[in-house]
């Protein structure tokens, strides 16, 4: 009899085909893998199962007569990025953070914003900051020099084009000039503003200090405290512009807090300063209509040794949230039953299948503890003499994708590649710098769009995916590992606590897609070092690596019953 062991995960569906003859060990024929179609456990996810079975059957020239499923509690996982890039109340101070790679001059100055064309006639009695629109640099410099000669006090200049240094060289190379300022049209002419350019390699100091900013903008002490968000928003930037606005007469609209209700009836705000409680302790989350089993959230990681970067990440107030909810239907089984020509059999609990599959790892013997790190959940399966438990925790590979995507400013699909592959910095068309500081010399030049960019080495042919972020490879690598540690190792810790601990010296086998990631394996091993477990990566049937443990386990358990 030809059977198909099927494991539908949040991200990946796996099918193990085998021939079963009563009284003989199963003949394992193939393991096939594809993306899960629709949400795990839904009727839509049946399509992916049937497609994989068809693909494997075509290769084999024979169709299975029985689908083997695990008896799982169908779960839904969801991900949300809360309050990403939220607008903060800047306390009546408008700010601009020009991208200018080449500002001119150095220092901070405050004055009245004025259009270049208005620098005619009698000079104003106050310092001014001219705004230069998209005109030729020689013409702009001539007009600025004429104004200076006429007695205008120019203290800084704001330039729309990439002409800061050119204008500085022709007017005054010491004046702070910020260029490449988008939307100069929107700067309010006549308003009081402050401009700062930091020395090369440094970041703004005066505009990033709320009291200095308040003094530069002549804010009264009551408004100075309100300027703290504007000051913080400018921190870490080479150049900045701050503009005094009319007092808004009250703060801008408050962000709605996301509240989680716990089993004891208390509530906990879901934000960057709170940590998720133990497994199963969240029973409800405002705005999420589901029967929750678990909820987990994580902020963007902190950049150790880099306060400015840490603040920049914190300011985004981004939180990745994963939830695990109980589904009451048996939609997958029903859909498979309707569309599959043979039988659909529920063979065993997922834990028993995972343990049976992981135990086929060469050298394992019996693997009583299986840690399944997948796309949506980290599952701990324990099958010991005194216990038989399965703990599922919300948040795994897909949540790591979200967090990595938020750090790099890319979509989760691209982030999935960034999570798995090392990065390089293209220093010159011929030199790549790796995450450990080592360098590679190229014999043919790297493409122009990758030069001076952080790139993901994702493709088989070695081509590079250039990112817009200004993170150095070693910094990104630390943030990436921190995300894996917080989410995967953190959730595993929660699962172990929920399982009442694990016996010392016992073998724990890592399976699932995340177990293919050497960084995750080392982060998990490090995080569990104090538990003194033998932590090994699964190699199902000695050839499939940490994949397909449940699918193969179902085949093995079903063979025993024949």
């Amino acid at each position: 009899m030809l059977v198909a062991g099927v494991d539908v995960g949040n991200a990946t569906t796996e099918v193990a085909l085998a021939r079963l003859v009563p009284g003989q060990p199963p003949e394992h024929l193939s393991v096939t893998r594809g993306p899960t179609t629709g949400a795990k456990g839904t009727a839509e996810s049946a399509q992916g199962v049937l497609d994989l079975i068809e693909r494997a059957s075509r290769r084999l020239g024979e169709t299975p007569t029985r689908i083997l499923l695990a008896d799982l509690h169908p779960v839904e996982t969801g991900l949300r990025e809360l309050a990403a890039e939220s607008e903060e109340d800047l306390g009546g101070v408008g700010i601009a953070r020009p991208v200018s790679a080449t500002p001119s001059g150095v220092g901070a100055a405050a004055g009245q914003l004025i259009d270049l064309a208005e620098l005619v006639g009698d000079p104003l009695p106050v310092p001014v900051i001219p705004i230069v629109g998209p005109i030729d640099f020689d013409a702009a410099a001539a007009a600025l020099n004429a104004a200076r000669a006429a007695g205008w006090q120019l203290v800084a200049i704001i330039v729309a084009g990439d002409d800061g240094v050119l204008i500085g060289n022709r007017v005054d190379a010491t004046l702070p000039i910020v260029d490449e300022v988008a939307d100069t049209d929107e700067l309010p002419r006549g308003a009081w503003a402050a401009v700062e350019v930091a020395p090369l390699g440094a970041t703004v100091v005066q505009l990033a200090d709320p009291l200095r900013l308040a003094v530069l903008l002549s804010l009264d002490p009551t408004r100075a405290r309100g300027a703290r968000n504007a000051a913080r928003a400018l921190l870490g930037h080479r150049a900045g512009i701050a503009v005094r606005r009319q007092a808004s007469g009250g703060s801008t609209e408050q962000e709605q807090p996301h509240l989680a209700t716990l089993t004891d009836g208390s509530t906990r705000t879901i934000d960057i300063s709170t940590t998720p409680p133990g497994v199963g302790e969240v029973v409800a989350i405002e705005g999420i209509d589901a029967n929750l089993i678990d909820a987990f959230w994580a902020p963007l990681p902190e950049a150790i040794d880099d306060a400015a970067l840490s603040l920049r990440l914190r300011q985004r107030r981004a939180v990745g949230l994963a939830v695990l909810a109980r589904r009451d239907d048996r939609a997958l089984e029903q859909a498979l039953g309707e569309r599959f020509s043979g039988e659909v059999v529920v063979v065993a609990a997922e834990t028993a299948a995972a343990v049976a599959g992981a135990s086929t790892t060469p050298g394992a013997g019996h693997a009583p503890i299986v840690i399944d790190m997948g796309g949506g959940t980290v599952d701990l399966h324990v099958q010991l003499d005194d216990r038989d438990v399965a703990i599922a925790t919300a948040g795994a590979g897909l949540l790591v994708d979200r967090i990595c995507g938020a750090i790099l400013g890319i979509d989760p699909l691209r982030a999935e590649q960034a999570k798995r592959h090392p990065s390089v910095h293209v220093e010159t068309p011929f030199i790549l710098r790796h995450e450990d500081g080592s360098r590679t010399f190229l014999t043919s030049p790297a493409p122009p769009q990758s030069v001076a960019h952080l790139c993901i080495t994702e493709r088989q042919d070695g081509s590079l995916d250039a990112l817009e972020t200004d993170l150095a490879p070693e910094v990104w690598a630390r943030l990436r590992r921190a995300a894996k540690r917080t989410i995967i190792a953190g959730n595993l810790r929660r699962a172990i606590t929920a399982a009442g601990g694990l016996p010392r010296g016992e073998l724990a086998v890592l399976v699932g897609g995340c177990a293919e990631d050497a960084e995750i394996v080392s982060e998990v091993s490090l995080a569990l070092a104090d538990l003194d477990l033998a932590i090994a990566r699964g190699d199902v049937l000695g050839e499939h690596g940490p994949r397909a443990a449940v699918a193969v386990g179902l085949v093995l358990l079903h063979a025993e019953t024949l």
């Binding site: 790679a101 080449t102 990439d162 030049p445 122009p448 769009q449 030069v451």
Partner: protein, 100 residues
């Protein structure tokens, strides 16, 4: 010729002004050769191994090593942006527009 500089081979005053402005903005030295040589030949003459020259209706940025093909190219009317990309290439900054 040992000062580090990118070499522009051109005698066109308008083009020279635009490319020179781009290099001044990026604070990267540019040397002008009023000789009718290719961008590749200009790159070989550049201590930084980067050269620019007009080829037909295009401004070409070439490297002295690795490839005989243009590293960057575009219409002469975009001389300011191509000059900026060439200067940034020398300064190891992201090239911005005209990196494609």
């Amino acid at each position: 010729m040992s000062a580090p500089a990118v070499v522009l081979a051109s005698a066109d005053a308008g083009l020279i002004r635009l490319v020179s402005a781009a290099f001044e903005e990026e604070a990267v030295p540019l040397q002008i050769l009023a000789e009718p040589i290719s961008a590749r030949a200009a790159a070989v003459r550049s201590p930084l191994g980067i050269g620019l020259a007009v080829d037909g209706a295009e401004l070409v940025v070439a490297l002295s090593t690795g490839t005989d093909d243009a590293y960057l190219h575009g219409p002469v009317s975009d001389a300011r942006l191509l000059g900026r990309a060439a200067a940034r290439l020398a300064a190891r900054r992201p090239l911005g527009e005209f990196a494609g």
